[in-house]
């Protein structure tokens, strides 16, 4: 299984490559990728340097163009496909069907990956993109059970990439407009969820309040760790019951599933977090490299080492809130 690591900045790319990433994924500045945040992402020069660095060390660079070309500015996405091809990207990661078609026609040699934002959860959908545009790999939305992943893998010639670690998406990727409902901007349309400019923090006598687009997302008592006000991580009331209706602030970690994912033929495992620091990328890449190597060498004897879990816990987002009485078991 290839290890696919995130790079929001050149130092993160270097950290990923140096610590064992097989593939590094990144985006251009602007709305053509789904981590369109201030201070993140690459221009032509930094991508060219990043690709050269990665190639020297045997790693590949995947350029994420995984938002949906918007009316009036759709040419920008096509232009970024051309840029990625000209810069020598090893593959592009695309969500929009029209953009995949453009890329397959304009750059027939360019390897195409279907983004998780393409919402392809079954082999029929994946094979649609394969037959039409020759996609080489598809990233599965974080919604399938293990046996469902296995069925998909068995029914498509397309390489399957699964999420291994990072922020846990609760909604089907590419199928969530919660953020634009509150702020006007969503991953599909603007490349970001719960945009920073729509956030307001307000200190009251009893609590620290976080608001998104004016909507109260959470209240934190003194001593509570205030998390980023992502809509699906908020605390809301249903019939007077206050809890996390969608998800507690927790991270996805599938280290213990590695032997099964390997046995079923998953082609790649993805680390989420282009918005995270180089230290995060370094730590997670190092741990996952070690785990993948052990799993490949001796799948029967593979076990998750406590030291790995400790290292990952240290870089998990500071959002390990107490679940307490709000905890509602999930499966």
């Amino acid at each position: 299984m290839r290890l696919v690591c995130p790079a929001g900045t050149p130092p993160s790319l270097k950290a990923a490559v140096d610590h064992g990433a097989d593939d590094v994924y990144l985006g251009f500045r602007g709305a053509t990728n789904a981590r369109n945040f201030a201070g993140l992402n690459f221009d032509d020069r930094t991508i060219a340097e990043g690709i050269a660095y990665a190639h020297r060390k045997g790693a590949r660079v995947l350029v994420a163009l995984n938002t949906f070309p918007q009316p009036g500015t759709a040419q920008r996405w096509e232009a970024d496909v051309d840029r990625a091809a000209a810069l020598g990207a090893d593959a592009i990661i695309v969500a929009d069907a029209g953009l995949l078609r453009y890329a397959s026609r304009a750059h027939p040699q360019l390897r195409l990956h279907l983004s998780v934002q393409g919402s392809a959860t079954n082999h029929e959908a994946i094979n649609f993109y394969h037959e039409r545009f020759g996609i080489a790999r598809a990233v599965l939305p974080r919604v399938l059970a293990l046996e469902q992943v296995e069925r998909v893998i068995g029914r498509t010639p397309v390489e399957i990439e699964v999420f291994g670690f990072g922020s846990l998406s609760i909604m089907v990727e590419g199928r969530c407009a919660l953020s634009s409902y509150a702020t006007g901007e969503s991953p599909n349309t603007h490349g970001g969820c719960s945009p920073a400019k729509a956030i307001r923090w307000q200190e009251t006598k009893e609590a620290l309040e976080s608001r998104l687009g004016g909507v109260l997302i959470d209240r934190f008592a003194p001593g509570e760790n205030p998390g980023y006000p992502t809509l699906c991580r908020g605390r809301f009331e249903v019939n007077g019951d206050l809890y996390y209706p969608f998800e507690e602030p927790t991270s996805l970690n599938t280290l213990e599933l590695l032997p099964k994912l390997q046995a079923m033929g998953a082609a790649a495992v993805k680390i989420e977090g282009r918005q995270r620091s180089p230290r995060y990328v370094e730590t997670v890449t190092r741990v996952w490299r070690a785990a993948l190597d052990e799993c490949a060498a001796q799948p029967q004897r593979y076990r998750v080492r406590p030291a790995w879990q400790e290292a990952l816990a240290e870089v998990s987002e500071g959002r390990q809130c107490t679940l307490g009485a709000y905890h509602r078991p999930w499966k």
Partner: protein, 307 residues
């Protein structure tokens, strides 16, 4: 059929039922709908494959009744396909052999491509002319714009496209905002999805979710999350028609659906102007209105008619 700039009279569509109602209530709703002034009816379970008060055969039966009543009956596929059972039902819908199909997943598009004309559903993420043309080439005869797409965006897509395709707009109802593998209704009841006890049947219009300062915000409808506010684009009917919208989708609600349909129908017939019809519609609204998406703003905002 050529797309023309001249506004034609739009048709009214009853969108698929998003909630889980007892069988009797569902059948009663559709019995009444047979005589409503709707031209198109989308039928079938789109939200959760565990729901079973009506089976596919029942939906097909209903489709036949609407067809006999002179309406266009369309069978809609699941928004999210996770397992073999979902795939099997989706295939049965696609291969029903009689009624048009609304594809809500690219898997359904693959099975429909080149075989029969179909409707490209609102979850297929068509935000630009290039993707619209691709779907038209696959056989889509109509597309439902994503709810996020603004009026200006829709106009841009329609003026840029060469596709010969009808356009449907989500004109009325709680907005379907997100879908998940997790069931939020089951989670509320401290149940797992696999043992959900079908508790969503208790909430004919979903579970209301409010913020900690008491603002209605969202509605939990099983694996689907909807807006608490009800989108109403009736005041912008002339604008929508001028840009080439052919069909107005009204999403079913448990109460006063007929009133909502009548208000739209009165505007479409020209009996009332869009603003006046919208006032009449107010009494049929189960919650505060919103129309922000149409204006390129936050979807929950309400701009209104401006008069």
């Amino acid at each position: 059929m050529e797309m023309t700039a001249a506004p034609a009279s739009p048709r009214i569509a009853l969108g698929p039922l998003t909630y889980y109602w007892p069988r009797g209530r569902t059948l009663d709703f559709y019995s009444r709908a047979l005589s409503w002034p709707v031209d198109i009816v989308y039928l079938g379970e789109t939200v959760c494959s565990r729901r079973h008060e009506l089976r596919l055969a029942d939906w097909i039966d209903l489709a036949g009744r609407f067809a006999d009543a002179g309406k266009e009956a369309v069978l809609s596929t699941y928004e999210l396909i996770e397992n073999d059972a979902d795939l099997r039902i989706m295939r049965q819908v696609v291969e029903n052999g009689r009624f048009r199909v609304e594809a809500n997943d690219m898997g359904a598009v693959r099975l429909l491509s080149g075989r029969v004309p179909f409707v490209s559903g609102p979850f297929l993420n068509v935000y630009n002319a290039s993707t619209l043309e691709l779907l038209a080439e696959c056989g889509a005869m109509r597309w439902v714009a994503p709810v996020e797409l603004s009026g200006a965006g829709l106009r841009d897509v329609l003026s840029a496209t060469t596709a010969n395709i009808e356009t449907e707009l989500f004109a009325f109802g709680r907005l379907p905002l997100a879908v998940s593998a997790r069931c939020f209704t089951a989670r509320y009841h401290n149940l797992s999805k696999d043992h959900c006890e079908y508790r969503c049947i208790e909430d004919p219009e979903g579970l209301a979710l409010t913020t900690q300062d008491g603002e209605p915000f969202l509605v939990l409808n099983g694996v689907q999350t909807q807006s608490a506010r009800v989108q109403n684009l009736l005041p912008f009917l002339p604008e929508a028609l001028a840009m080439g919208v052919n069909v107005l989708r009204l999403s079913p609600q448990p109460e006063r659906m007929e009133e909502a349909v009548e208000a739209f129908a009165a505007a479409v017939r020209g009996d009332l102007d869009a603003v006046e019809a919208s006032r009449r519609l107010a009494s049929a609204m189960p919650a505060a209105p919103c129309d922000g998406y149409w204006h390129g703003r936050a979807g929950m905002e309400h701009v209104g008619s401006g008069t």
